[in-house]
Symmetry: C2
Subunit: 374 residues, 2 copies
């Protein structure tokens, strides 16, 4: 669960849910209490519709309550309960529909690898009148490294970086192209008020955030950053950098590529340190043609009563880890919206969508036994 702050921007107490039109508002309404409730409603609907005493498939509901805190106990819990969690399919619910009128089945999430690069020059900041022009400047050197990280056409210049990148299928690209996309709305909402689109040539915006890897500078710090000016050559310069990765890139391989790149771009007189935060999160995608995934789409179309397209998510999650750990496919089922204000004041969930999501899950439990033969 995310914290409530800034509390003063909530229009009502965050932990006392209120309804507004077809919305239910409160901390966690969308991420992810709403979708937990969706699954409980789904079981109820499934049993009522089939007249059965038990679901058509054996359901094991696993609710991870520490996801927003880095899941410190997840790995041990999975290991301790390995036998209890044996299954044929994982249905993962932490993703959203593309838009209210454009329901989608998510088929993947990007991985992530992040860390920081520090360039060390002298032991101290140096007055630029004493040495300016005659010793290396770590900030300038780091800027040159960052500039070299992308080629002029916007592609990432780490040697070998694209080697393992799996192209999306023709069907996936066609699906993405048919999804509604309003550039100005997307810039204002997803882009945080960005003033223009930018990115790798040959790919649409949705492709850039769903199926293409990226390298982002997340932060820079060096030298004097207070008011006014201090004419120094900084002793150090640091960049925080993260990569979003796509199948079949491996975080550990990209980490090696970055280490080599930094070594190559460290000029004489500068010492570099590269560190990573953890081992990264691997990317995950499941083919739209996978029988389990096709079944999810069919169940969604029955519930939403309209065409459902495949989509992906630009963020990261433990899908690849779960899939590898349990050795079975993982599919996504979610019915929230990208503009639900998750992690922000006045988080909401759209109740009719949640009910359709429950209906889709109820169909899924009914259909799975006949579609999956393992």
């Amino acid at each position: 669960m995310q914290p409530v702050d800034p509390l003063d921007r909530w229009h009502h107490p965050p932990f006392e849910p209120v309804t507004s039109g077809d919305e239910l508002r409160g901390r966690g309404a969308s991420d992810d209490k709403g979708q937990v409730a969706m699954h409980l409603l789904a079981v109820k609907a499934h049993l009522a519709a089939t007249g059965q005493n038990a679901p058509s498939v054996t359901l094991k509901l696993f609710v991870e309550g520490e996801e927003e805190s880095g899941s410190p106990h997840l790995r041990k819990l999975l290991e301790d309960h390995r036998q209890d969690l044996v299954c044929d399919l994982v249905v993962f619910t932490d993703t959203a529909l593309h838009e209210r009128d454009a329901p989608t089945v998510n088929t993947g999430q990007r991985g992530v690898l992040g860390g920081e690069i520090t360039f060390f020059g002298g032991a101290d900041d140096v007055h630029s009148g004493r040495a300016g022009g005659a010793i290396p400047n770590p900030a300038t050197a780091l800027a040159k490294l960052i500039a070299a990280l992308h080629s002029d056409d916007g592609r990432i210049a780490l040697p070998g970086f694209y080697e393992d990148v799996r192209e999306p299928s023709t069907q996936e690209r066609a699906d993405y192209a048919e999804l509604p996309f309003d550039e100005q709305k997307w810039l204002a909402h997803n882009g945080g008020g960005a003033q223009a689109l930018a990115g790798e040539p040959g790919y649409t915006t949705l492709e850039r955030i769903w199926v293409r890897p990226t390298a982002e500078v997340n932060g820079l710090s060096s030298g004097y950053t207070g008011p006014g000016l201090k004419t120094i050559i900084p002793a150090t310069a640091t960049a925080k950098i993260s990569f979003r990765l796509v199948p079949d890139q491996l975080p550990e391989k990209v980490a090696d590529q970055l280490r080599e790149f930094v070594a190559k771009h460290t000029p004489p007189g500068i010492r570099a340190e590269v560190s990573f935060r953890g081992e990264g999160v691997p990317p995950y995608a499941i083919s739209p043609d996978d029988p389990a995934n096709a079944t999810v789409k069919e169940a969604m179309e029955l519930a939403f009563d309209q065409p459902v397209r495949f989509a992906r998510a630009g963020g990261s999650g433990p899908a690849a880890v779960l899939q590898a750990w349990l050795g079975v496919p993982l599919v996504y089922l979610g019915a929230t919206l990208p503009d639900d204000r998750v992690h922000a004041p006045n988080e909401r969930v759209v109740v009719p969508l949640l009910l359709k999501g429950a209906e889709a899950a109820a169909h899924l439990w009914r259909m799975l036994p006949e579609r999956l033969t393992r």
Copy 2:
């Protein structure tokens, strides 16, 4: 006067001068109480040696006590006392000898122009999973601008930047080459512990800091800079940048060149702001062949009883402003050392050098009337 902090690194109370060998220690001993005393001793010596009741030239001693605080009242004071300050020559004392055993006459100081560049992307930092790869990153864009500020050979790439740069004379370069220069000592002392020399090809280290202009990044800030990682695309990125300038560069012209450069290197979707701290300090240099300057050298050689070479200073000062304002040449006379720990704990001045400086000034007052006919 610089503050005393860190007080705990002083070995004695900063304002109670103590002697240690041939040194006198205390805040301001070298910068610049010592050199004020030097001029008073010089007048005394000059009168004693000549047997005169008045100096051979009319001396107007001007002690600026606010130099370390940005000289807030200097301009008005100069304007209010314009008539009192009319003179034929300014002798400026705020520079040092090259080394204890290598006395030098300073012939110039670099100018300085500093400011900051901010790149604005969106209104807020954006989660890199939502938009990473599809909107411009201000930190990456700023790094590309900084990288472009120098060409691969280390020269500054602002169009027209070198147009007004005056090459040092053959004699000046020969003088600089004869000065003692210990690379490791220089790196440890002037370079603040830098690990290697670097800079514009075709120039020595002393030339790089004395007669060549430079562009330095003084600070960088963007996005998240705390512990760990935050996978965001920053909303803004800022670089503090300063230029050291050499004759005949004009700060206002370089400011225009930077503004144009930033405009050219601002990518679509990014808005740039450039601001300067004040109007900058113009560079100043006087030819070694100027009769006043040649006289200073001769006076120094009489006092130090060894060859004196011409040198310059890499820092900045009001020489050009004073020279332009009074309309007469400005020469430098100083007898402190670069390793006097000015602005730092345990500042010292070497007393025998101060006395030789006083002797040089006494000679100078005697020699000037016959050497300068105006």
